[in-house]
Amino acid sequence: MLQGALAGLAAGGLYAVLAVCLTLMSRLVRVVNFSQSATGMFGCYVAVWLSIHIGLPTWAAAVVGIVLGSALSALLGWIISTWLAEADIGTRSAVTVAVLLLLISLSFILFGNKPQPFHPLLPGPAFSVNGVVVSQVTVVTVVLSVLIALGCRALLTKTSFGLELRALSERPTTAELMGIPAKPLAVAVWAATGLLSTLVITIVAPSQSNDATSLSMLVVPASAAALLGGFRRLDLAVVGGLVLGMAQGAVAQVDSLSVVRYFLPFLVIVGLLLWSQRKEVWDVAR
């Protein structure tokens, strides 16, 4: 079971990074970005294609894919900031559902519906504890998720750029009236989260189910993790991602429960939503 839990840490780190991205998007640009992992998936697929068909070295192709994922995300952010600047969060989020479906369809058309032959960027184990092997991918994703959360927190609380982002997220019109440029800042957030998502998917994709749908739907466990922090707290988003990944890994080790791992993110989402609404339910009952 311990081996399973540790094996699940790599996925947990991936969920944690995506959850941090989702939390940042929700807090700073008022979007629940359902296409968060789909843009990452698309960037990775292009990287694999460049590596196989153009002959680019794996690392160079990965860099191109990461830049493309960031650019795609920035483009979507620019579109939403331009035409849906005053729209509510529901409308803005609905647009990202359309992009999610578009990117999955496009990847089927361009790359087929089979998993891609990814070359691992970080092959092999990092170390072992009592016979339990911990891979390099696991170490890197877990460390990355913690560093990204700490870095984002420092950026938001210690820099004038972060202060402007927080102001913009609370009262966009007031912030603009003070001369804070809403659109460039919003596009920067989209680009940064797109880059981080593509980077972490590029690292983890070779070691897990990597068909277009599976990678795009990573947004579901990431949402479950972000929900633990109420789409506000970065620390809880990281904890949520890591715990969810470990729980899935542990459950997968038990034959009678292994199928539950696929439903675990949904169970977490439903449980957290019900828990968050408990006061309203009790108030109505009274």
């Binding site: 202060l163 927080r166 609370e170 009262r171 603009e176 009236l177 003070m178 001369g179 804070i180």
Partner: protein
């Protein structure tokens, strides 16, 4: 310092015009009271000047630059500030963080806090925890910190006790003395006219009086008829 000019501006909301062909200018160092009954179009006019909503026709000029098609950010960079109706604080930010957004330098933050001792005591409190009067002080202090050339103030007294509002008005006067041109929209008409040099009365979207604030204050009949648009 140059003036802000509003030339024949019409503003529409839905199918109808809420402001029709309004023209005036704001001069440096002077306060202009913009008064009128509820629904006269005062807030819409301010929003059209600062770019929150577009003007249907007419033009807005800051100095020699026409800004009618400029973004809110571009207008702010030309020295225009707009204090919106209600308490437009950033509730999750502390008093200091609110001020740092516009002050840019620590000496300026300290300078502004010296004007508002109440805020100085609570500089690290989130503004969500402040009283209504203190929140309005934060908004005013934040605008002062930016040193704008033109300041539009919309119903600063909304939801405040008159005693709190009278504490804030001298700050507006002080700011004008430093050279800013101020357009003051206020429900407490007499208090607003008392600190203003110029006055504009709008009723049903049209200007019904434009002239000296003191003359309007000394002539209740004029004020009454201007409000009613007679």
């Amino acid at each position: 310092m140059s003036a802000l000019q509003v030339k024949d501006v019409t503003v529409t909301r839905g199918a109808g015009a809420v402001i029709r062909d309004v023209a005036f200018s704001l001069e440096p160092g002077r306060i202009t009271a913009l008064v009128g009954p509820n629904g006269a179009g005062k807030t819409s006019l301010l929003e059209a000047i600062s770019g929150v909503i577009p003007a249907a026709s007419g033009s807005v000029h800051i100095g020699d630059t026409e800004v009618t098609k400029h973004s809110r950010v571009a207008r702010a960079k030309l020295g225009l500030a707009h204090i919106e109706q209600g308490r437009a604080v950033f509730p999750g930010l502390t008093v200091m963080e609110n001020l740092k957004l516009t002050a840019r330098t620590w000496p300026r933050v300290e300078e502004v806090l010296a004007l508002f001792p109440e805020l100085d005591k609570r500089r690290n409190s989130p503004t969500a925890l402040l009283s209504g009067g203190e929140q309005q002080m934060v908004v005013l202090a934040r605008a002062f910190a930016a040193r704008p050339k033109f300041l539009l103030i919309d119903e600063m007294s909304l939801g405040l006790a008159p005693v709190v509002f009278t504490r804030l008005l001298p700050m507006v006067t002080r700011f004008a003395e430093e050279g800013a041109a101020i357009l003051l929209v206020e429900q407490f008409t007499h208090l607003a006219l008392g600190v203003s040099q110029d006055a504009i009365v709008v009723s049903s979207g049209k200007v019904t009086y434009q002239g000296s604030a003191q003359d309007l204050l000394n002539s209740p009949e004029t004020l009454h008829s201007a409000y009613l648009g007679e």
